[in-house]
């Protein structure tokens, strides 16, 4: 397997409290580009890592307001302007009967906005790979390992300081991860 540039320094942990403490230590050391992969959601980890709040609520609000205003426009235009129908002497348009449609369209638009924003903008789907995916510890993060990754893109990253930091924070199996240029995939013969 050929090796490229250094892309990260990784370390392993075996329990949630230790990894939360390590996240606090890394955040305190000033790292911004680092990530932690765990087999299950660890409560409080994002706070320990000092992650900024998600921008999803702003998208949700925009989607909700769009849904609300389109529901208003739809009912007002179709009921009171385009096709006037007198139903049981009720007014052509009034918010009373509009509320269920306001609500439904608002919820629908918010839900769809949140779904597409979260998966396709914030979570960067459809991106089916990670550059760390050939690392054994990273693969084990699906099962029984908590894997801390200090990325080389961080401005204060140097291999030595990152290794020293992770060792100081008690990580096991601290290792330097290189970019995988090519890997052992079976070659198919046509």
């Amino acid at each position: 397997m050929a090796q490229g540039n250094v892309i990260a320094v990784m370390g392993d942990y075996k329990n949630a409290d230790a990894v939360t403490a390590a996240a606090k230590g890394i955040h305190a050391a000033g790292y911004t580009k680092f990530d932690i992969y765990t087999p299950y959601p660890v409560h409080g980890l994002e706070k320990a890592m000092g992650m900024p709040k998600t921008s999803l609520p702003k998208f949700a609000l925009a989607g909700g307001l769009f849904g609300l205003s389109s529901a208003f426009a739809l009912q007002y235009w179709s009921g009171a302007i385009e096709y006037k129908l007198n139903i049981g002497g009720k007014p052509l348009f009034t918010p009373h009967f509009g509320v269920p449609v306001f609500f439904e369209l608002m919820v629908l638009c918010t839900g769809l906005t949140v779904f597409f924003t979260m998966f396709f903008i914030l979570n960067k789907l459809p991106n089916w790979h990670s550059k760390y995916q050939y690392d054994a510890g990273f693969i084990a993060a699906q099962d029984d390992n908590m894997c801390v990754v200090l990325e080389a893109e961080d401005p204060r990253f140097t291999v030595e300081s990152a290794q020293a930091l992770l060792t100081k924070l008690g990580a096991a199996n601290v290792r330097v991860v290189h970019e995988t240029v090519e890997h052992d995939e079976p070659e198919y013969v046509n």
């Binding site: 409560h43 409080g44 609520p57 049981g88 009373h96 009967f97 269920p100």
Partner: protein
Amino acid sequence: MNSVIIADSSFAKKLHQYSLIALGVGAVGMAAAAVFDAGRFLQAYLVGYIYFAGITIVSMFFSTLQFLVNAGWSALVRRIPEIFAGFLPVVLIGLIPIVIDVWFSHKLYHWADPHIYEPGPHFDALLNTKRGYLNPTFFTIRLALYATIWFLTYRLIIQNSFKQDESSTDYTPTRQNMKRSAPFVLLFAMSLTFAGFDLVMSLDPHWFSTMFGVYFFAGNFVSTLSLIAIFIVNFKRQGLLKGITGEHFHDIGKFMFAFTVFWTYITFSQYFLIWYGNLPEEVLFFWHRAHGNWQFLGYGLVFGHFIVPFVTLLTQGNKRNPAVLVGVGCWILFMHFIDLCFIILPNFSPTLSVSWQDVCSWLFFGGLFFFLVARQLGTRSIVAFNDPYLKESLELIS
């Protein structure tokens, strides 16, 4: 954790002091109201009584619910509604004036008046058909049944929860409560729904709404949560209950937010179906409330009971902010009072009639409520310190 008794804290002392002042002012006002106009006095009495009776009964439900679902987060705050439940004796005794009125003076409940069933100009054919349900004997039997259910809930669930304080190794009381809570939640749902029908909805006996029980519950529940929030914020501020963190505020805040939305959903559903159905019997209830100056109270509720708490509690930061939580809590408690006035008082007066009698009644029952709470704070721990879930609650991250 050990028992936390806050008899010497300035919080308990101030609560005791202010409750006595409120009780005194309320009692004088109520006495004056009774002399001034007995009918108006009973209406105000009902407003104040329902307000605090609802909070008491829903507090018992809150505690029962935590046992039913084995809730971990709430172990630290569960004792506070259990202390509120100590108002139950007054709730049970407070039913007596209502029963007396139904039997003898007929000032509150129109259907109790025997004259409307005699042939003549006052004969009411509709109520005559409802007489099998709405008559003083059956009314009294039903109230006695609710009173029994509430009394049993207090004896079997709440007092059993207190019993857990005696032992840190034997969890029998908690185990028993987990089993007992299931039937009692069911009984609670039935008793509160029918108590709402009997005590409040039957003030307008021609009107009926199957949604009313849920509506009644939603308003009471959101105000109980607000009261719990106000108490835990004060305990935290004065350093009386150290385990309380922003996570508990957040959870209570979420609960308040959810039930504000629930109240709105139920209230609107009730209104919407009646508006659309447009049947004379059902519409009259809202006709009285949508005309004259009662309508301002109605609009006030839409803004005050829904939009203000909804917008304030929407963001995460606000739910975790103790000052905001207390502010919204007080506001919701105030709006709940307006809500009850809006349900009860238009039955007796075509024009806006919220008056000093209602405020005095609120002060009277509120004074009594907080007096009993303060008295219990003198002897009872404000945290269920032997609860098996307490550790989980202390480490809560929401």
